[in-house]
Amino acid sequence: MNIDRRSFLKLTALGLLALAAKPALDLISKPSAARALDGPVAAKRMAMAIDLKACTAGNGCVACIDACHRVHNVPDIGNRKEEIKWLWEAAYKQAFPDQENKFATVPLQDRRMLVLCNHCDNPPCVKVCPTQATWRRDDGIVMMDYHRCIGCRYCMAACPYGSRSFNWRDPRPYIKVIDDGYPTRTKGVVEKCNFCEERVADGLQPACVEACSSGALTFGDLRSGSEVRRLISSGFNLRRKAELGTSPQVYYLL
């Protein structure tokens, strides 16, 4: 093939442009998942309902938190600065800072409640990740690849829920008993609740749901007919900062 330097350079540049254009086009043409969910749920979509009437978080019950952190080898570093948490308790006004129900004497407002990753339909953390180390699965679970994460912490800045933790140091010495069912992490990567995708794959319920004795936690597919869908449709529910357009998939039942 006869090709001079000039046309070689031109072709190379064109090729590079085409390479760059493909993902850009994909990005624009991808239908917004959040929009799709407003109607009937066609595909499998995992979600969680937390019944605030039944949940005893704040009254000394930490069964779900312990179970979660145990099976996922979440370390207890022992200081707030480097804290790693997947599922934890927060005051009502921390979980729902925009709900101002003044003078309402609903005991809810003085309660503490469970908070975790909301596995958003439109997850800002996924959008900002420069390596696709965090991504949204087709069933809605927002995943983390601990081996691809470069530890830039852009996702932590982007998460409106403070759901993400960073391994500021090697976490392994701070894990009491290492569970072989889930990998430990290395220093310098981000982690968060994964809706127990490793247990869901085996047909099990998430560890927190299993550990809850009061039946406050329900996990499942949002498609009609499921228990979680029935619960969510049956009454009034709150979602954290839904006004940001993230479409969080943890529903707090009142």
Partner: protein, 384 residues
């Protein structure tokens, strides 16, 4: 040309050894961070970006500001900029490298940095920032080096340099706009969620970068046998004057919107920054220092006599530089995280290791700049 870096007087070698010492200290501190992790810094679960990202943002601005010399020279035929333009381009090279290094030292897994290239993610602004910063770095290396080479050979610079210069103008705007988009696109952080962020970044960049350039030019005039010419210095000083006034104006615009609308979430961050919130006052003295310095600089710069006097000009430029470093670094990154998305207050205080690493990266930029400027001076002295 490059041989000039090996020929220098006592003061030159003193400067080089001082910078090398700082780099060594920074490197030693970085080895600690590499071994232990980012736990050696003051960063936390709540304040996950701090001194490194603040400096990154600031130096992207310094890098972008080279355009303030390229525009008048290439687009308005401003011949008086000819002698300092190469200095501006080399300053952009050093600032670009410093900015990229600050990203590197901020990473939890620096060895995996090439995952950004391996798994290109056009949805992520960081991906675009890496792309534009790298290209801008290359553009300025070419611009500065080719122009200097022409000067060395005593010929006119090649004609293809002008299109590159014009591309670099657009590119300079892009690096700082994209850097602003890193923050301005996050719904989670209302403090940054403002369309004014990119213009604010550009205005403060065009004040801080040229201010640094004036300081460098004055230092070289005093200690290095280099005269940039009073006329060109005054032109650059005027650019600094306009830019610092616009910077302060933009800050006041933000303050108006936030405090007049009184949206509590938006107000909380500015309250923390300017007056303190819930008994947390970490940034208040810094921010007021920045504001006072900015106003002092404006007074010195708008007064023709003090702008033309090299002592007061140097003071004003130092004030601009420090003021913007505080405002755009500490004052922009940290309050974005305070209070956190759950309304909790955590403060941030950089550790000694973090400060040493930061100084090391600054010194690295300083060393590169010194060497590049030494080559420039060598070429120009050789010609005479």
């Amino acid at each position: 040309m490059i041989e000039n870096i090996f020929r220098g007087g006592k003061k030159y070698w003193l400067l080089i050894s001082g910078l090398l010492l700082l780099i060594a200290a920074g490197l030693a501190a970085y080895i600690q961070q590499w071994n232990i992790g980012l736990a050696v810094t003051g960063l936390s679960r709540d304040i996950s970006w701090g001194l490194y990202i603040a400096n990154f943002t600031f130096f992207v601005g310094v890098a972008a500001s080279a355009v303030m010399l390229i525009i008048p020279y290439y687009l308005h035929n401003g011949k008086e900029f000819c002698r300092i333009m190469i200095l501006g381009e080399f300053m952009a090279v050093a600032a670009c490298l410093v900015a990229i290094t600050f990203i590197l030292v901020d990473l939890g897994q620096p060895a995996r940095v090439f995952n950004i290239i391996l798994y290109p993610s056009p949805g992520s602004i960081i991906f675009w920032d890496v792309v534009v910063l790298t290209v801008y770095l290359l553009l300025n290396i070419v611009l500065g080096w080719v122009a200097l080479d022409a000067e060395y050979k005593e010929v006119e610079p090649p004609t293809w340099l002008k299109p590159i210069a014009i591309i670099s103008i657009v590119w300079a705007i892009s690096i700082h706009t994209v850097t602003a988009f890193i923050y301005a696109g996050l719904a989670a952080r209302i403090f940054w969620l403002t369309a004014l962020l990119a213009p604010r970044f550009l205005a403060s960049a065009f004040a801080s970068g040229p201010a640094l350039l004036i300081l460098l030019a004055l230092a070289m005039k005093k200690w290095g046998n280099f005269d940039p010419g009073d006329q060109s210095l005054d032109k650059v000083a005027k650019i600094v004057t306009y830019a610092i006034i616009i910077t302060v104006f933009f800050l006041l615009l933000e303050v108006f919107t936030v405090f007049y609308s009184q949206v509590p979430d938006a107000m909380a961050h500015f309250q923390y920054l300017l007056f303190g919130l819930d008994n947390h006052y970490g940034l208040v003295p810094w921010m007021w220092t920045s504001i006072l310095l900015a106003f002092a600089a404006i007074i010195m710069l708008v007064t023709p006599s003090s702008r033309k006097n090299h002592v007061t000009l140097a003071l004003a430029c130092a004030a601009v530089f420090i003021s913007i470093w505080i405002d755009k670094g500490l004052g922009l990154i940290i309050p974005g995280f305070i209070p956190n998305p759950m309304g909790e207050m955590t403060e941030y205080m950089p550790t000694m290791i973090e400060i040493l690493i930061t100084m090391g990266v600054w010194a690295m930029g300083g060393l590169l700049l010194t060497l590049l400027y030494k080559v420039v001076m060598g070429v120009r002295q050789g010609r005479r």
